[in-house]
Amino acid sequence: MVGGFFQQSSVYMPLLAIVTAFVLGGVVIWVTSGSLDTVFLAYEGLLRGALFKNRGLSESLVATIPYIMLSLGIAVGFKAGLFNIGVEGQFYIGAVAAAWMGASLQGVPAIIHLPLTVLAGAIGGAIWAAIPGFLKARTGAHEVITTIMMNYIAFRLTEFLISGPLRDPNAAAVQTPRIAPGAELWSLYAVPERLQDPLNALLVALIVAGVGFVMARWALPRLARRQRDEGRAALLNSALAQAGVGVVAGLLAFAALPALTRLWWPFTDQYDRLHTGLFVALAASVGVWWLLWKTTIGFELRTVGANPSAARYAGMSITRNIMLGMSISGALAGMAGMMEVLGVSICRCLPLFFSSGYGFDAIAISLLARNDPLGILLSSFLFGAMRNGADLMELTSGVSKYIISLLQALLLLFVAAPPIVRWLYRLRAPGGREESATVTRGWGGQA
């Protein structure tokens, strides 16, 4: 093992788990197919399908996006001591809410409609998750049970809504109406075209300004600390400078982006489904990291999750934090569902048979990432790539694509039980008190 980075057990343990899972998976393929060649053929197909075939990488990323959002949701819950198994249901409700909001307004420009629809998805998921949160806070009903039950309610409710009140009367298939163009999440291919509309350019400029402002707030004080000249340091530290950076970035984006993207844009394949939700997912993981580790809200959530008695001692409200943790978790999951409708589904609508299974994989992803937002980006990509590469693997090697589930299950096993990996590689347990993967607390006496 080289370098300090890889000497952290939070880094090398998941890596070892991945390697071990693939090796064991290979053994299974070898045994079942009877030939060692098949193993290499299969993994080669998996890799090619996931990365190198035409649109391979972007399809992997398309699957990565909901994984990121859902596992962020689960991670927020975990940190607050809540095992939100219900992300799948919240994903559904977010999707329905977004489909409804997206289709019920027509002719509204994206600058208004898109944020509204995103919000609808988030709120839908948040409400769905807040119900088990409320039950837990008030009655002590364990969220593992209630969120699973809420999943089934969500599935059936969605079916009812799609085939009843929200059904598109003009479509042959049972599905919701196509959402208005203003509510669509743009595919990357369509960005240059979209930007020709000044209102859309304004929307992008506002987002760029916001990002610029946040980055300036982060970077300028650090620059200021290195300045020797006091006047300049004060200037860099001023709110004016930070706002200035944001405004300038926004203005530049507004003025230059439409023309620039016209001149040159890397996404030229009109069948490429990769969409701007990728940026939303990246922003969400930075946001979750910031919320959990840099704010008082995250401090409270983590305290309640790690030691509710100490949280009470410190004057925190357990009830409030359970509700809040569940709501944030559900909002992220709801946004995942929203993005599937607004950005991915071919019909830009919610069809009746809308089964994802993303939510359950996401539990494995956040465990693999140990609830760390950066880790979640990487693990989500791993799962997205496996999900996407599986088809080509089956095609080239004849190995069933469900072997992916086996790989993921092995991975989960090794991640959840580090002693197995340690034993396999004869590693010593880390010195400190290990951050135990407290998945959930007991059934009784919650706060």
Partner: protein, 542 residues
């Protein structure tokens, strides 16, 4: 004779600390061997290594002269080593019997095998536990739920658990930290009995009185090294203290007479129920004035815990009144009380006082994280939090590799110092602000598990806080601590305050009798009224 247990050249390094540095240790058969050392000296680490909870980087362990490898507690138990940990290792939702059987379910004895399935035989286990507790005078109820038991009783469960596994070598890591002096004395009788039967015992403590009371041999550690080993006859308190700290320690503490002013904390006819709806605080009235320390003496489990919880908003009062700085706060939330000036050193440090997985610096702002200067809006201000932590770590001499170290990896005494540092610093910041909230400190067992040097330091801090006008309610099972620090002493027995004495004239014997409930307040001579009315009268008089 070969020693029962021998450690040779044990070395163990943790990130940033050398916890054990070529430590040699020898335990003779039938010996009670006291192990002393400052907080963080490496005592628990050495014991954890002997019990297989932690692996040494190098060194050798011999049991009865044979080199052995102890890779896990399982191996240790197989070698006849049992351990009672500094922090409880019990599963709170399970019963006492289940906890004791835990990990030993499949050993011969209380399991029956039914068609290939091992069945837990709770009845036999309960019986054996009753026998053991009878035999050694350790009062435990096998069928009680551990989470309902007070700390003292949980400690007894731990000891019974070690005895239950039929260990020949017993490691007791600060077993008396949570016991009252009477309970400790009972434990010593048990330990003597065990030693007579040929069992060997390692006994870690910070209390020099106990060392002389029970040990056959004394070893002292300092900063990861074994400083020396001597017989009790060669030792004096001063010598031991000096070996531990590396310099002379002043064991006595002098304090100026108190100048109490207006009452800051007033409690009137307070009744508080415990989890089982039993009135554990049953009509208590008292007051604490600015600039004085009121000690609450009493055998643990007489309502002190519930009293402290009621005063800090963690438990709702059934009836009665609590006033702080003249305002009624009976129904106030914990957050409100924190804001209105109450600092609280909780009795159970790992349950209430700390978040073990959080860093030292985060734990130091556990009650202040949400307001300036620690936070601006919702954004935590890390440079300020870090500076705050550095200051307190330095001031309170918390032995830690850094402020980012998880508090759970500090030694027990240093964990306690983190809590005391946080709460005293809040108190001081209140005092610094004349328009601020009334400074009130509720300190439950503030020096539990601290070494002599640290106790001395914390005591000075408490007296200093008093002299600067804080009202201090000191709840302690240590009669010595109560007597050195308090200006007045209230004795609690069965949820009531039997009497409140002037500390200058109170004697150990008198207090002891009151604590045992033998003497009632009205027998005390100086007061002719029943206990309750006396304290009532006190409130009105002031």
């Amino acid at each position: 004779m070969t020693p029962a247990l021998q450690a040779i050249g044990i070395t163990r390094r943790f990130p940033g600390v050398l916890a054990n540095d070529r430590v040699d240790f020898e335990l003779e058969r039938g010996q009670i061997h006291a192990l002393l050392g400052e907080n963080g000296a490496g005592k628990s680490t050495l014991m954890n290594i002997l019990y297989g909870l932690c692996q040494p980087d190098s060194g050798e362990i011999r049991v009865n002269g044979r080199p052995v490898k102890i890779a896990s507690p399982h191996d240790a138990i197989a070698q006849g080593i049992g351990m009672v940990h500094q922090h409880f290792m019990l599963a709170p939702p399970l019963t006492v019997a289940e906890n004791i059987m835990l990990g030993q379910e499949l050993k011969a004895g209380p399991t029956r095998v039914l068609g290939g399935l091992a069945v837990l035989d709770r009845r036999t286990a309960s019986r054996r536990i009753r026998e053991l507790s009878h035999q050694y005078g350790l009062d435990v109820d096998p069928d009680a739920c551990v989470k309902d038991l007070p700390v003292g009783a949980q400690q007894r469960v731990e000891i019974v658990k070690a005895l239950y596994s039929a260990a020949d070598i017993l490691i007791l890591d600060e077993p008396t930290a949570v016991l009252t002096p009477q309970e400790a004395d009972e434990l010593f009788v048990i330990m003597r009995g065990l030693a007579k039967q040929g069992k060997s015992i390692v006994f870690i403590t910070h209390k020099l009185r106990e060392v002389f009371a029970v040990s056959d041999r004394i070893s002292v550690m300092r900063a990861g090294q074994m400083v020396g080993s001597l017989a009790p006859a060669e030792a004096t308190r001063e010598k031991l203290a000096e070996m531990m700290v590396g310099r002379k320690v002043i064991l006595a503490i002098d304090k100026a007479p108190a100048h109490p002013r207006q009452p800051l904390l007033e409690v009137e006819a307070l009744r508080v129920a415990d989890d089982r709806q039993h009135m554990s605080v049953d009509g208590v009235s008292f007051h604490v004035r600015a600039g004085e320390i009121l000690g609450v003496a009493g055998v643990q489990g007489n309502g002190q815990t519930e009293l402290a919880e009621a005063l800090t908003g963690l438990r709702k009062a059934v009836s009665g009144h609590i006033r702080m700085g003249g305002r009624d706060v009976t129904r106030a939330t914990t957050r409100h009380l924190i804001e209105s000036g109450v600092a609280h050193v909780p009795e159970d440090r790992q349950k209430h006082g700390l978040v073990l997985s959080f860093s030292v610096r985060d734990n130091l702002v556990l009650c202040a994280y949400y307001k300036p200067p620690c936070a601006r809006g919702i954004a935590l201000q890390f440079p300020i939090i870090e500076e705050h932590a550095r200051n307190l770590v330095r001031l309170f001499d918390v032995r830690t590799p850094g402020t980012a170290t998880p508090v759970g990896s500090l030694s027990g005494g240093n964990q306690q110092k983190v809590i005391v540092a946080r709460e005293l610093s809040r108190l001081l910041s209140h005092q610094a602000d004349p328009a601020g909230p009334p400074p009130i400190l509720i300190a439950s067992q503030p020096t539990r598990g601290l070494d002599v040097g640290s106790i001395e330091f914390i005591h000075r801090q408490l007296i200093q806080a008093r002299d600067q006008g804080a009202a201090v309610l000191l709840i302690s099972a240590e009669l010595d601590e109560i007597m050195t620090l308090s200006d007045r002493i209230a004795v609690m027995y069965k949820g009531r305050i039997l009497d409140t004495l002037d500390a200058a004239t109170a004697t150990r014997e008198h207090l002891g009798l009151l604590m045992a409930g033998v003497l009632r307040g009205d027998d005390a001579g100086e007061h002719a009224q029943p206990a309750q009315q006396i304290t009532h009268g006190d409130v009105k008089a002031s």
